[in-house]
Amino acid sequence: MAQVSLEGIRKVYPNGFQAVESTSFTIQDGEFVVLVGPSGCGKSTLLRMIAGLEDISDGTLKIGDRVVNDVDPADRDIAMVFQNYALYPHMTVRKNIGYGLKNRGTPATEISAKVEDAAKMLNLTEYLDRKPAQLSGGQRQRVAMGRAVVRDPALFLFDEPLSNLDAKLRNQMRIEIKALQRRLGTTAVYVTHDQVEAMTMADRIIVLNEGRIEQIGTPYEVYHNPASTFVASFMGAPPMNLIEAEVAEQQVRINGYDGLMPAPAAYVGPVTLGVRPEDVELNNQGSVTFRVDILEELGAHRLLHGTIAEQPFSVLVGKDEDVQTGETRVTLKPDALRLFDAETGKTL
Amino acid sequence: MKRAGFDNIWLPVALLLPQLMIIAIFFYWPAGWALQSSFYLQDPFGFGSTFVGADNYTSLIGNDHYLRVAWFTVVFSILVTFFSLAIALLLAVKADKVLRGAKSYRTLLMWVYAIAPPVAGFLGILFFDQSTGPMTRFFQMFGWDFKLGVDYNATATAMIIVSVWKQIPVNFIFFLSGLQSIPRSVREAAMIDNRSATGRFWQVTFPLLAPTAFFLLIINITYALFDTFGIIDALMKSNPGNNPMTLVYKVYLDGFRGNDLGGSSAQSVVLMVLVLALTVFQFRLVERRIHYT
């Protein structure tokens, strides 16, 4: 078990490209941290630097109390689950799981006992003598997990481990991984581009964009109080509505629209107004006109796509709400309004 | 190189050493030596050599026999390449089309690959035998008094036929695998868009096969230049006389039988330049091919 701390970690490639800007944060012992962001945001590079598969250009990386910048991956006391699982195709499940132990000189009887334990934990016992090619995607995923678990490392690293599974298996494995990590109490860093995974699995989420940390926070904080328009639009499906507006005299006015609403913060000037689709109510006395173009049936909800004052906007309503395309009146919940700087996109 | 390579120094050096040593001794040294001796005139009795500059090269250009050999090599290469590619393409297209027996046809059409060129040449001697050869009789039916090893054109014809025969399997294998790698969906789209099978072939299949064909073109020219040595040597029964021969055969003849070291080296260098040009051409094609796929 260990706490992981990054101090001013940076990655610059020989060609001058800066994949990760100076980054500092600390992961508490036993915490499940998810690095999330669009592809190319530097999340995988960050993870690979923690693993030791990528050199650290600058800064200090500590696992526990030890500075590990120059420690070989094999000696960092970590285990990693890869996106494509990276199982050794010519070895049986048993050998795959035990390979790391064998290389560390663990006695054969101990290896076999530990492999059996891990297999039992992951429901793999009956597959131990098969090769990876004879397993389903979900089973391969479990073997990759087994390979990580068996070594009882100080730190788990996950590199988009669920992205090769179909939607149903993904939901199931998400819960299993989380439960397993809880049970073992091992610190975990998990990389994904899927914000649903980030929301459901993380103790804390780190949102990255273009090699920079946009926000660090609990799923609740990141969802409800996004630090920037980037976070607001990246986290949550459907994403937060972002429309151009103007604040004056404690009032918000949507551009091209007359209605006024109380502003949540004291500010004067152009802003980007953010509101989650579920924080909008259909209301005949509402102050804003919403033009519904398309009605998307989601089962438990209905998602209405349309425009407010010519700007794209969507509203999430209950499944029983009776809606037609065309114009309707809505109210934006005052305490759900978020204001962002129109220039920088940072929260105000 | 891989993203996360190992950092050791001595292990990779040790791993590379055998290959580098063999290459240094049996490739760079001889190649450099050929280049050097192409500028010298070797005393026929082995008593030293004199620097003669580009004389060995200029005397090649003025040498009628060399030019004749060069001309034959060009004609030979073009004919061998064309016929072996054309026949192999026809067979590959048919083998790709039929459902029944496709695998057997593949086996039957490719196994000749494994026959050594001089052995193929020896079979040629029997088929083109002056008195009893069936091919000789076939040509006699058309009034051609076919005399292998005596008549220049007859010997050349036999060399071309045997060389084409020997090269069909390689081309067939590459064409067939090229055809089979064309996605099913593309063929099905073409079936919907064009009802003529011939049209489909020339407008859809053939362009998709073009990279394979270009690649094979180079392979076949290289084959005609170098790998036919055994066939040619067998068919002339090691008796050059008035027989047609390729440039490589002439290098061998002048260097080993004629003891004209400088001349032979100069010829080697000319061939090297030729092959280099071909290879550069090929690399550029291969690069393009990688971009396409």
Binding site: L53, A86 | V98, L108, I115, P134, F226
Partner: protein, 297 residues
């Protein structure tokens, strides 16, 4: 089809159409197969006749009585100029050349390709070019200087001189490099995290992963080595080092220069020279085709 009940009254079975196009395809393929098959087959039938028949009537299409005798003599009777080599010795030499060349090439080129692909080496690019330049010049164009080099090293009439210079080309290295590059990166990374060093990774993971590739390249290289002609012709003058392919011309010349040429014997020997490479190509044709087309020669 199951719709017969509905159309029962007027149901007449549709006549089975002969698809002339398909027939045409098969005709072309059968002709092509005959073109490829017949010469060696006729060689086989002819080899079953006695010398006089072949000399007088040429190639034979039927099986004669002397097949066994010709093969026995070809393999065990001492021939050649010096009369002290037989077919068996040449057969053995051919196997030594074919297998020695293939195995040597695979080992050396796998090691070199591994060093180039998996190590952070400052001179990796340089080594790459030094090695891959050799792809440019086949042995045939540098035959004379290569021979001189072998002679200076005193390696004429040795298996080393016969085999090692043939290995001095990068085809195998290029092939394995391509394959190693196609192995997922994560495999090496997982192995590093699992504590496997470079040597362990090579032996435990990479070599077993390459099994099919090794088999494919072995077949191609074996055939290539077996069929070598020019190089053995120069390097081996001592008949006890003759391979079948190298010896065939000499043998043919001595057999055919006799009053009644021993074509039956010569053909039998030619067939012996064909069988091993042909057999390996036919039996392992899937590997062979894979190796040939994926290595791009």
């Amino acid at each position: 089809m199951a719709d017969t009940t509905l159309e029962a009254p007027a149901a007449t079975r549709r006549p089975r159409r002969i698809r002339w196009e398909t027939v045409g395809d098969h005709v072309v393929l059968i002709l092509g197969s005959l073109l490829m098959m017949l010469p060696p087959l006729i060689a086989l039938t002819t080899a079953s006749h006695d010398a006089v028949t072949i000399h007088r009537e040429g190639l034979q299409l039927t099986l004669g009585d002397d097949l066994g005798k010709n093969f026995k003599n070809a393999l065990f009777e001492k021939g050649g100029f010096t009369k002290n080599v037989n077919g068996m010795l040449m057969l053995m030499n051919s196997f030594i050349l074919g297998i020695g060349f293939a195995v040597g090439k695979i080992i050396i080129s796998m090691m070199a390709a591994y060093a180039i692909v998996y190590f952070r080496l400052r001179f990796a690019t340089l080594a790459f070019w030094i090695i891959f330049t050799t792809l440019l010049l086949p042995l045939e164009v540098r035959i004379l200087p290569s021979y001189e080099a072998i002679q200076k090293l005193g390696l004429t009439n040795t298996y080393t001189g016969l085999i090692v210079p043939l290995i001095a080309s990068a085809t195998g290295t290029f092939f394995f490099r391509q394959f190693f590059l196609s192995v997922p990166e994560e495999l090496a990374e997982a192995a590093r995290i699992d504590g496997a060093g470079p040597w362990k990774f090579f032996i435990d993971i990479l070599v077993p992963l390459s099994r099919t590739m090794i088999a494919a390249i072995f077949i191609i290289m074996f055939v290539f080595g077996w069929n070598q002609y020019l190089w053995p012709t120069l390097i081996t003058t001592d008949e006890s080092f003759f391979t079948l392919v190298r010896g065939i011309k000499q043998i043919v010349l001595t057999y055919t220069d006799a009053n009644i040429p021993e074509h039956g014997l010569a053909l039998a020997l030619a067939i012996v020279a064909m069988i091993p490479p042909v057999a390996i190509v036919i039996f392992f044709q899937n590997w062979f085709v894979k190796g040939l087309t994926e290595s791009d020669k």
